[in-house]
Amino acid sequence: MNDQEVRQIILDIIHDIAPDEDLSDVKPDVRLRDQLDLDSMDFLDIVMELRKRYKIEVPEEDYMELSTLDGCVAYLKPKFEEKGIVAASA
C-alpha cells in the first residue's frame, strides 16, 4: 500500500458522504475542512466508514490526525499495513 492508495481510500469515503463536493484538486497538506464543505458530523462519518469498511478504529483523541490528507496517510498507513489491507480502489 502506498501513500496515493491511502489518499484515494479517504477521497472515496468523502465522495460517498458528500457527493456534491469537487475532489479533483484536494491539496494534501491543507486541512480538509478548509478546502471542502465538511463539518464535525461528516468527520465522524469518515471515522465510522473506516471502521465499517476496513475494521480500523480511530479513537476520539486521534481525530485531529485526520485533518489533512497527509495526516491521514501518516496515521492510517501503518494501520492498513498492520491489517494487511490491499487497496481495493487504486
Binding site: 458522504i17 457527493p19 456534491d20 464543505d37 463539518d39 458530523m41 465510522m48
Partner: protein, 463 residues
C-alpha cells in the same frame, strides 16, 4: 429472534433511522402495522388515481449546488448517502398568507417574504430583518430546552399584531402540537424550514420517494414486517426485554426506537408503569382534510398558489374548535403548482381545517358519514372564496377526519402533530427505548427523517 435495533413504524422517521443503522451493518427490523409504509405521509389509490396522504408540501428545500451554512436537507442527504437528485424534489412557485384583505405572498428564500412584509407593513421592515436574524440558528435537535413563548418573543421584533399573527399562522399549521402558542426553538426550526429554505414536493409524489427509501433500506440489509402491529413492549430491570408483535415470533433487541408517539409508546409497555417519568398528554389538535379532483387547473380561476394559509379576521386562533371543524382558518394547497410536477396526473386542490378532537370518534356510523359530507361541503364553499368557483369542475372528492388519522397512525385523538409535550432527548425512562419522529419534536418529512437519523446516531451507533 434477535436484532440490534427494532424500529416501530415505517413512517419517515422509522425508515430514515432504519436506513442509517442498516448502512452501518446493524441488524435492523422495522415493524409497521399497516400494509404500506409512509405513516403520516403515505399514499393510496382510489378510482385509479394515486393520492398522497396529507402532503401539502415538503419543507426545507435545497437547490442543486447549494453552498452555505449546513441546512437540514444537506445534513440528511449526507447522513443517508442519498444524492440530492435521487430525492427528485421540485420547488414551489409561490405561496401566500391571507388574513381577510391582507395578502403576504412568499416564495422560497427569506428575501421574498421580507419584500412582501415591506410592501404591506413598511414600518416593520427592520423589525422583520432582526426577527429573521434572531431565528436563523437552528437549535440542537436533541437538547432539552426551556419552553419560551414565541408570541411573547415576537413582540420584541414586530409591533403590528396582525403581522405577528400572519407570520405565526403557517408555522402553527405546520407543526404546532400545542394550542395557542409554540416554543421559540420550534419557531426557529419552522421559520427556517418554511420561509428561509422553503417549500418543495417530490416530483412524482410520495410513492416513488418512499420506494427509494425502502429499496435502500432493504439493499443495506434491513428487514421490514408489514401488517405487523406491536402489541406489547415487555420491560424488566429498566429495559425493554421483548417486543411482542401480533402473530409473529417474539423479538429481542438491543435498542428499540418508537415512532408510535410518546403516550402511545407508554401505552404499549407491560407491565404498565405506575408513574411514568413525565406525563405525556395526548395532543388536542386534529384536522379534517378534503381533496377535490378537478378537470382543469385552478390557475384558470386565477389561483396560482402552491399553499395558502388563510384566516378570517385579524386574530388567528390555534385551538380545538367547538364545532366539528373551524372554517375561519385553514390551509389550502394545489399539488400542481410546483416547477415541473409530474404527479398527480390530475388537477386537485386540498383544504385542511382544525377539527374537534373527540367528537368525530363519538358519532355513530351514519352520523359520522353525514357530518363528514357536510364538513367537506362547507369547506369547499369556504375555499371557493379564495380559489374561485370550482364546484362544477369536481370529478371526485375524498376526505379524512381525526378518526381516519387515528386509524392509520394510532395517534390518540387523531392528533397529527402528536402529543402536546415533546421529548427532544428521545429518552422516556427506559435504558434501551427511545422516541423518534413527531414526539421527539421534529415535524414534516425532512424533520421526521432527521429525527430518526439523530436518535440513531446518539443511541444506536455511538452508544
Amino acid at each position: 429472534m434477535k436484532f440490534d435495533v427494532v424500529i416501530i413504524g415505517a413512517g419517515l422517521s422509522g425508515l430514515a433511522a432504519g436506513l442509517r443503522a442498516a448502512q452501518f451493518d446493524k441488524r435492523v427490523l422495522v415493524v409497521e402495522r399497516h400494509s404500506l409504509w409512509g405513516g403520516l405521509n403515505s399514499f393510496y389509490k382510489k378510482q385509479g388515481r394515486l393520492f398522497d396522504v396529507g402532503l401539502h408540501a415538503m419543507t426545507n428545500y435545497m437547490a442543486p449546488g447549494y453552498r452555505g451554512p449546513r441546512i437540514p436537507l444537506q445534513r440528511l442527504t449526507r447522513q443517508l448517502r442519498i444524492p440530492l437528485q435521487d430525492l427528485d424534489i421540485v420547488p414551489q412557485h409561490v405561496s401566500s398568507t391571507r388574513f381577510d384583505d391582507c395578502v403576504l405572498p412568499w416564495g422560497n428564500g427569506i428575501e421574498s417574504l421580507a419584500a412582501s412584509v415591506e410592501r404591506a407593513f413598511p414600518e416593520e421592515r427592520d423589525g422583520f430583518a432582526r426577527l429573521a436574524e434572531a431565528l436563523a440558528p437552528y437549535p440542537d435537535a436533541m437538547n432539552d430546552r426551556p419552553w419560551v413563548s414565541s408570541r411573547a418573543r415576537m413582540q420584541e421584533y414586530i409591533r403590528t399584531p396582525l403581522l405577528r399573527e400572519m407570520l405565526l399562522a403557517p408555522l402553527l399549521f405546520y407543526g404546532g402540537a400545542a394550542a395557542h402558542d409554540m416554543d421559540w426553538g420550534q419557531c426557529a426550526i419552522l421559520f427556517n424550514s418554511i420561509y428561509r429554505e422553503g417549500l418543495c414536493r417530490p416530483k412524482r409524489g410520495m410513492r416513488p420517494f418512499l420506494k427509494m427509501l425502502v429499496d435502500r433500506f432493504r439493499e443495506a440489509g434491513g428487514e421490514m414486517w408489514t401488517r405487523a402491529p406491536v402489541e406489547r413492549l415487555v420491560h424488566r430491570d429498566g429495559r425493554v426485554a421483548e417486543v411482542v408483535v401480533k402473530d409473529r415470533p417474539a423479538v429481542q433487541a438491543d435498542v428499540v426506537l418508537s415512532s408510535a408517539g410518546w403516550p402511545e409508546t407508554e401505552g404499549l409497555l407491560e407491565p404498565e408503569r405506575a408513574k411514568p417519568p413525565v406525563r405525556a398528554e395526548p395532543g388536542q389538535l386534529a384536522f379534517v382534510e378534503s381533496i377535490w379532483v378537478l378537470d382543469r387547473d385552478p390557475a384558470e380561476h386565477g389561483y396560482d398558489d402552491a399553499v395558502t394559509f388563510f384566516n378570517a379576521g385579524t386574530e388567528f386562533r390555534w385551538e380545538a374548535p367547538e364545532d366539528d371543524i373551524d372554517l375561519r382558518s385553514g390551509v389550502l394547497c394545489c399539488p400542481n403548482h410546483y416547477e415541473g410536477t409530474e404527479e398527480p396526473s390530475f388537477f386537485a386542490v386540498r383544504a385542511t381545517h382544525l377539527a374537534h378532537p373527540r367528537r368525530w370518534f363519538e358519532f355513530d356510523e351514519e352520523t359520522y358519514r353525514t357530518r363528514k359530507a357536510a364538513a367537506v361541503e362547507a369547506s369547499r364553499r369556504r375555499v371557493e372564496e379564495i380559489v374561485g368557483p370550482f364546484g362544477a369542475e369536481v370529478h371526485a372528492t375524498d376526505a379524512f377526519t381525526p378518526r381516519t388519522v387515528h386509524h392509520y397512525t394510532g395517534h390518540v385523538n387523531g392528533a397529527i402533530y402528536g402529543s402536546a409535550a415533546k421529548r427532544p432527548t428521545a429518552d422516556i425512562g427506559l435504558d434501551n427505548l427511545f422516541l423518534i419522529g413527531t414526539d421527539q419534536g421534529l415535524v414534516g418529512i425532512v424533520g421526521a427523517m432527521l429525527s430518526g437519523v439523530a436518535v440513531t446516531n446518539a443511541k444506536v451507533l455511538n452508544r
